[in-house]
């Protein structure tokens, strides 16, 4: 090392930073590309020229304009939002709980949302806003319950996970009871449980988008805290972090992101678990790079899956969740095997 750069990150770590910046730029490009494809491709066979004209002339009454402004743009936007929110939420939860098998489901998000939607439908309210609102509130309420249970013990990582399992089991029992007693609620909430983007609209998206953007922005300012927490409670404490408080705050933010996504996309369980793994294997575990990369990767992953779900048997649609498993599963296995080859 030369005297001039004696006390700065050396050339190897600078090149790692450059590599991370390139990967983030590449994932941003992939997101833009997948969004353009998602807007251009569809069952109605509109040409890119027609779509471009509809885009620059603003919302109108032509077929192209209606499809673009009321179907494809909201849907693409929804895919990006849901992917970014679930991937970041999953990353935060995995880091905070130091558990690579954790996902938004583990802190009760899906169970809470499922119960709230079932209850909402059982009460006879099938309106989209009611389902969106109740699912978000249900997700948050379940997470608060998990956090309170953990706090009443000692807020350690294990008690959060165990509390999550226990609360989820209780909530699912109530949900099952409701859908057994009210079969109509079971039918109405079935779409929600599978997850997908066929019924998104701007009204459902906007409040969720505000929550998702602000949640990810706050998390991006707390990436050092996230990394310090992953050193273990003792070390983090000794470094001056209020571990229990930060953990609860992070879990609340993660629940807010996942809850916002669930409110318009239903339960997409796979993304929050597997995209963080993919992202970590590609860009490493440094949260400062990982969080933005995860948001971009999650967004493009769901967008691509949704394109396939729409196009594979067009004009019939498959649920996006199924495609996610078909594409993501093998890709993940490939990543695992590739890593093994590298480590003799």
């Amino acid at each position: 090392m030369t005297a001039g750069v004696k006390h700065m990150p050396n050339s190897k770590s600078s090149s790692m930073k450059t590599k991370a910046a390139l990967l983030i730029a590449a994932s941003a490009a992939a997101l833009v590309l997948s969004a353009v494809l998602s807007i251009c491709l569809g069952a109605s066979g509109l040409s890119p020229g027609e779509l471009w004209h509809a885009l620059i002339s603003g919302p109108g009454t032509s077929k192209a304009s209606r499809i673009l402004w009321y179907v494809r743009l909201p849907r693409t936007f929804a895919c990006i939002m849901a992917g970014a929110a679930l991937a970041v939420s999953g990353t935060v939860i995995q880091k905070v709980l130091a558990n690579n098998l954790a996902s938004p489901g583990i802190i009760g998000v899906n169970a809470g949302a499922g119960l709230a939607v079932a209850a909402c439908c059982a009460a006879g309210n099938y309106a989209a806003w009611a389902i969106a609102g109740s699912s978000f509130l249900g997700a948050m309420a379940a997470t608060f319950l998990v956090v309170i249970v953990a706090r009443k013990s000692n807020a350690s990582r294990t008690t959060v996970v165990l509390g999550g399992v226990a609360v989820t089991a209780c909530i699912n029992a109530v949900t099952e009871t409701i859908v057994t007693v009210f079969p109509d609620a079971a039918l109405a909430s079935a779409d929600f449980r599978v997850g997908g983007f066929s019924s998104v609209n701007q009204g459902r998206l906007l409040p969720a988008a505000v929550l998702i953007f602000s949640g990810i922005a706050v998390i991006c300012t707390l990436t050092n805290e996230l990394d310090v927490m992953s050193l273990g409670d003792d070390t983090a404490n000794a470094l001056g972090l209020r571990v229990a408080r930060m953990r609860n705050m992070m879990l609340t933010l993660a629940a807010m992101l996942a809850g916002a996504s669930v409110s318009f996309a239903g339960i997409l369980g796979f993304v929050g678990l597997i995209v963080p793994h993919m992202a970590r294997r590609i860009i490493g575990n440094d949260s400062g790079h990982l969080i933005p990369f995860c948001a971009l990767l999650g967004g493009s992953f769901i967008t691509v899956c949704d394109i396939v779900a729409r196009m594979l048997f067009a004009p019939y649609e498959l649920p996006t969740g199924i495609i996610m498993s078909f594409l993501g599963g093998p890709f993940f296995i490939w990543l695992l095997l590739r890593r093994r080859e590298r480590q003799p």
Partner: protein
């Protein structure tokens, strides 16, 4: 009881009437101790006697604590966690092996100094480089923690503690899991920390290391201090036989006094 302390030495950390409990059961029953500046103080005692709890109380990791812990006249227990972490560093016994690079780990030693806009500054990076050079790990700064040997991981954690730049360094059994060469290296580094004026407090089990490296020894049993004095006095005392149920034996070579243990 008032612990023995060499005359004229400033007590950087002083503990008075320290009681500590976990879940209602009291582990420490009123500890009074002084930890002098620029010295290695070693806490010894049988398993479960409250050694780790004493250290953990100093870094406020025990939920139920009463008494007083002063650092250079300031009350450590009522200090903001971030301020406390700028004064006392702690190397726990059980540590994660995080999936990050060595330099990133060491950089987190600067976490107590982070302020708005929550980004590490040039002087933090400077400190990382100095700390890595001090422990001889500068060549491996870009390596992943997982790829290092146990001894190297310990050095990386030590560099993190150095980067924290505190007046006091607490180490809970820092030589456990290390091979003999790395144990000696670790203890030599602790010695040089003390020579730099830091208050070094550590828990050790090996009497030979205690004899060789400790300036001041605190013997604990059942949550109380039995004896506090220099290493030879403590190791030759009746109290140590009572505490451990063993008999330390001594022999001299040209290097000085050595100790081994008989049942």
């Amino acid at each position: 009881m008032a612990p023995a302390q060499e005359k004229g030495e400033a007590a950087m950390i002083s503990v008075r009437g320290l009681h500590a409990s976990y879940g209602g059961s009291e582990i420490l029953h009123g500890i009074d101790a002084d930890f002098p500046e620029g010295r290695i103080t070693v806490i010894i005692g049988p398993n479960g006697c409250g050694k780790s709890t004493t250290l953990r109380s100093m870094v406020r990791m025990v939920p139920e604590v009463s008494g007083q812990i002063m650092i250079d006249g300031a009350d450590l227990l009522s200090m903001e966690p971030q301020k406390a972490a700028q004064r006392v560093a702690y190397l726990p016994q059980n540590r994660n092996v995080p999936d990050i690079t060595v330099e990133r780990l060491v950089l987190h030693g600067r976490f107590p100094y982070l302020s708005y806009p929550r980004r590490y500054r040039r002087e933090d990076w400077d400190m990382v480089t100095r700390s890595l050079q001090q422990v001889g790990l500068d060549d491996l700064r870009s390596s992943r923690m997982e790829s290092l040997s146990g001894g190297q991981q310990q050095k990386a954690y030590l560099a993190m503690v150095l980067a924290q730049d505190t007046e006091a360094v607490l180490m809970d059994e820092p030589t456990t899991f290390l091979d003999i060469k790395n144990q000696l290296d670790m203890m030599d580094r602790a010695r040089s920390l003390a020579e730099d004026g830091k208050t070094v407090i550590m828990i050790l089990h090996d009497f030979e290391s205690v004899l060789h490296y400790a300036d001041h020894v605190i013997l604990m049993k059942d949550g109380r201090i039995l004896l506090a004095s220099d290493a030879e006095t403590v190791l030759r005392s009746q109290e140590i036989r009572d505490a451990f149920g063993v008999r330390p034996c001594f022999y001299e070579t040209e290097d000085g006094l050595h100790c081994y243990v008989k049942k």
